[in-house]
């Protein structure tokens, strides 16, 4: 019996953290395709296999792939492809030289090609269960706008906080939070788990946030991935924005007076390493 192999190409761009892949199926699958867009950050295309029973992966794209695949595995992605994806992300990241210019970093790309059997590319039962979400209700659509505004507000407040450590992570978090807000605003009712995972990862590092604010931000960024929890996330983001703004004012006042401020007690980069789990 022939091995029924298909060539899988994976491509990863570390600067934008975008992973895309396509499979040369040839006659192993029918022309008609089925697409899955579970959220704003993933896209999967499947074809009906002509040699096996079920849908076989044809192409995919994952945004914020490193952050996304660092957590629990995507149920849609076949296990063998997931292994390849992690490898290409690792090699793409390792190939980035610290002294590379911005253009070099943006152009950096890692490729992998592998031969997998059709069985290894079949949609898993878990993936089949994860069907497209229901269309958003009008209430959810209006909630998306409010949520986006609240996230923008938190990002703006964080950007204005007096920075006791280095600004790298803060800049990254602020950009990611604005991106998350923009995606929610642009496609109301769609979640963006990749952007929120990347924001959570940025929030793990040194930021001018105390422990409770950091933990609240973490929880809100987790809740934003599920439309059922948007109301709770909205409350958290609004509350966080108010808290952080108050802390900012207190810190500035304390600095003028020469006393110790709440934000001066923030943990440094070294203190926030691996003890912050991904929940």
């Amino acid at each position: 019996m022939s091995p029924r192999l298909a060539q899988v190409h994976l491509r990863y761009r570390p600067a934008s953290d975008v992973l895309s892949g396509d499979v040369e199926l040839g006659t192993l699958a029918a022309d008609q395709s089925v697409t899955d867009t579970l959220d704003a950050d993933t896209y999967f295309e499947w074809r009906h296999s002509t040699v096996a029973d079920g849908l076989v992966l044809s192409s995919f794209q994952i945004l914020h792939a490193a952050a996304r695949l660092d957590g629990p595995p995507l149920s849609m992605l076949p296990a063998e492809v997931l292994v390849l994806a992690r490898q290409v992300i690792a090699s793409g990241t390792a190939a980035l030289r610290p002294e590379a210019t911005m253009i070099e970093r943006l152009k950096a790309k890692a490729d992998t090609t592998a031969l997998l059997t059709v069985d290894q590319l079949l949609q898993s039962s878990a993936g089949a269960v994860a069907t497209a979400p229901l269309p958003p209700t009008p209430a959810e659509q209006s909630q998306a706008g409010a949520l986006a505004a609240a996230i923008d507000q938190v990002a703006s407040v964080i950007a204005r906080l007096p920075e006791p450590v280095e600004a790298t992570r803060t800049n990254e978090l602020v950009h990611l939070a604005h991106e998350l807000a923009a995606v929610l605003r642009e496609t109301p009712g769609t979640t963006s788990p990749g952007t929120s995972a990347a924001a959570r990862r940025a929030a793990r590092y040194a930021l001018p946030l105390d422990t409770s604010s950091r933990s609240m931000l973490w929880r809100a960024l987790t809740e934003v991935d599920d439309r059922r929890h948007w109301q709770s996330a909205l409350v958290r983001f609004n509350s966080l924005a108010a808290d952080l703004d108050r802390q900012r004012v207190d810190t500035l006042r304390a600095r003028v007076r020469g006393t110790k401020s709440p934000l001066d007690d923030c943990p440094s980069a070294d203190q926030h390493t691996d003890d912050d789990s991904d929940d």
Binding site: P3, L5, R11, R13, P14, A15, S16, D17, V18, S20, T35, D41, Y43, E45, Q61, L63, A66, A67, D70, E80, R86, Q87, V88, I89, A90, S91, G92, T93, A94, A95, L96, P98, M102, I103, R105, L106, K107, A110, D111, T112, T113, A114, L115, L116, T117, Q120, E166, A167, T168, R169, N171, E172, H175, H178, E179, A182, E186, R201, A202, R204
Partner: protein, 247 residues
């Protein structure tokens, strides 16, 4: 299991989120903004397998701008998603055009008689008879839309119409259309070469094309071709109108 694997980069290794993030994150706001644009374009065009290549094209086009212009763009579009939404469509057209040129299929698209759009141009080649008799080469290979005689007659008619339509254009307009539609030069390149704004040249091309269409209809209906009014002619006409109004 997989029968073979090939990696173009270093072999696989376990890289923690910390290492990945530390290597890829930049403090530069431009780098963060451009990465955001790349993701937004890729998100917008995600149905295409080469979405990340188009995204790269967008970002490189932005980074090719002088620093002042780049900062101007970033100030005008602080949200990379908004910027991506604006430029993605044109970047996609540019990308497809380049791909077609690289594949020697012609940069532009034309509409076939059955309504489908294909790259390339509508060419009718000379005929050659088949030595062993039967249909001519043209009928065999190219004339799938109409009989050869009709195509030749149509072609001659079209050449006659084109000649009369072109009489209505001045030399510069003819050169402009030839470069853009015949040689696939870009409007922005010609504008840069002439030292005029792209929008100005684009307007001129549009008005010329409009006149070509109007003239074509006029010729087909047996009417007269509207000629390009030169500046002295326009001034003379304006002067005559002014004198007539005063009288």
């Amino acid at each position: 299991m997989s029968s073979s694997r090939r990696h173009t980069e270093s072999p696989a290794r376990t890289v923690s989120a910390r290492t990945v993030s530390a290597r890829t994150v930049s403090t530069d706001p431009t780098a963060l903004w451009t990465a955001g644009v790349m993701r937004a374009v890729a998100r917008q065009l995600r149905r295409r397998p080469d979405a990340d290549d188009v995204a790269m094209r967008v970002v490189l086009a932005v980074l090719e701008q002088p620093a002042a212009r780049l900062h101007q763009i970033m100030a005008r579009y602080p949200d990379p998603v908004a910027y991506a939404r604006m430029v993605a469509r044109h970047a996609l057209i540019d990308h497809d055009r380049c791909e077609r040129v690289q594949q020697c299929r012609g940069a532009r698209l034309f509409r076939r008689i059955d309504g489908t759009i294909e790259p390339g141009r509508t060419w009718h080649y000379g005929d050659a008879s088949v030595q062993s008799g039967g249909e001519s080469m043209f009928d065999l290979w190219a004339a799938d839309e109409a009989p050869l005689d009709d195509l030749v007659a149509d072609r001659l008619d079209a050449v006659g119409v084109l000649q009369r339509v072109l009489d209505g254009l001045d030399a510069d307009e003819r050169t402009l259309l030839h470069r853009i539609d015949g040689l696939d030069h870009r409007v922005s390149d010609i504008a840069r070469e002439r030292g005029v704004a792209r929008e100005t040249l684009s307007k001129k091309v549009s008005s010329t094309r409009l006149r070509v269409q109007t003239n074509r209809r006029a010729v087909e209906n047996g009417g007269m071709v509207a000629k390009y009014a030169t500046r002295p002619a326009r001034l003379a006409a304006a002067g005559a109108a002014h004198v007539a109004r005063r009288r």
